[in-house]
Amino acid sequence: MSGGGQLVFLICGLIALVSAVLTVSLRSPLRAAVALLAHILSLAGLYLTLHAHLLAAIQLLVYAGAVVVLFVFVIMLIGPSAMPTTEGQPRGLLLRVAIASLMAMVGGTVAFGVSTVDRPYVDIDQCAGPAAECGQFGGVEALGHAIYQQAAVPFELVGILLLVAIIAAVAVARGHTPEEKRAFEERARKKDAEAAAAAE
């Protein structure tokens, strides 16, 4: 593995480890969700070092784009009872201003740095073999070919699985409206009365 690939691996692996520990140890679920987001982003970086370009993109789309957002939505929906019962002391205004200005400085540096660099070259090592095929390993074309050629039926089944999961999630999370609950109780009472009449 080349030096650039090693560096990417070390940075992403370290971030993955630290953010995983933070995810399972932080008290506030919202902070844990943000740590999980960092974990997922660093894993996408690790996939890049393994020449799995499409999988890294899917990781970002599905996990960072959908799963973490779902977690945050549920935390917001549940509200304060998802939070820890004992809140830490609020820190001073000075610290918040310092952190915000630091973040603004870093963001500005990155933005201006990117605007002046022309074609950044990330040195991830090449796989063995001709260059034409090497560019394809783990790419959209090759992986799509593999999925549709070797795993077409499971791919269709995953579509059904996701549909069933959506329906199940809606059905489980929806709950009953007051009208439905009243109708259900009415039906139960009628059934009880019929049973009592049959017993007599």
Binding site: A20, T23, H51, Y63, F71, L161, A173
Partner: protein
Amino acid sequence: MEIGLGTYLALASVLFGIGAIGFLTRRNTLLQLMSIEIMLNSVNLTLVAFNRWSPGEAGAWSHQGQVFAFFVIAVAAAEAAVGLAILISLFRLRKSVESDRADLLKH
């Protein structure tokens, strides 16, 4: 320092351990679901690493590990959706997301 297949597998096993410890020690159902996601992601990392070190011949690449990881991601997304729906349902019932409070079948 040479980074090979073993390095990736070691990292993935440590991540899986962290996820397992989180799942077993935390009592907040949200954090338990997040720990499950960490464990699934670590398994995906091993699959992709194995695929990288046995990629087949040039021109006929084998992507079996990546295809498998793709399906794991899809199933994990479905799992997260259903798990969070159950969590909301439990919260309606118990006004709490602690897994210790889900004891309706216990008594």
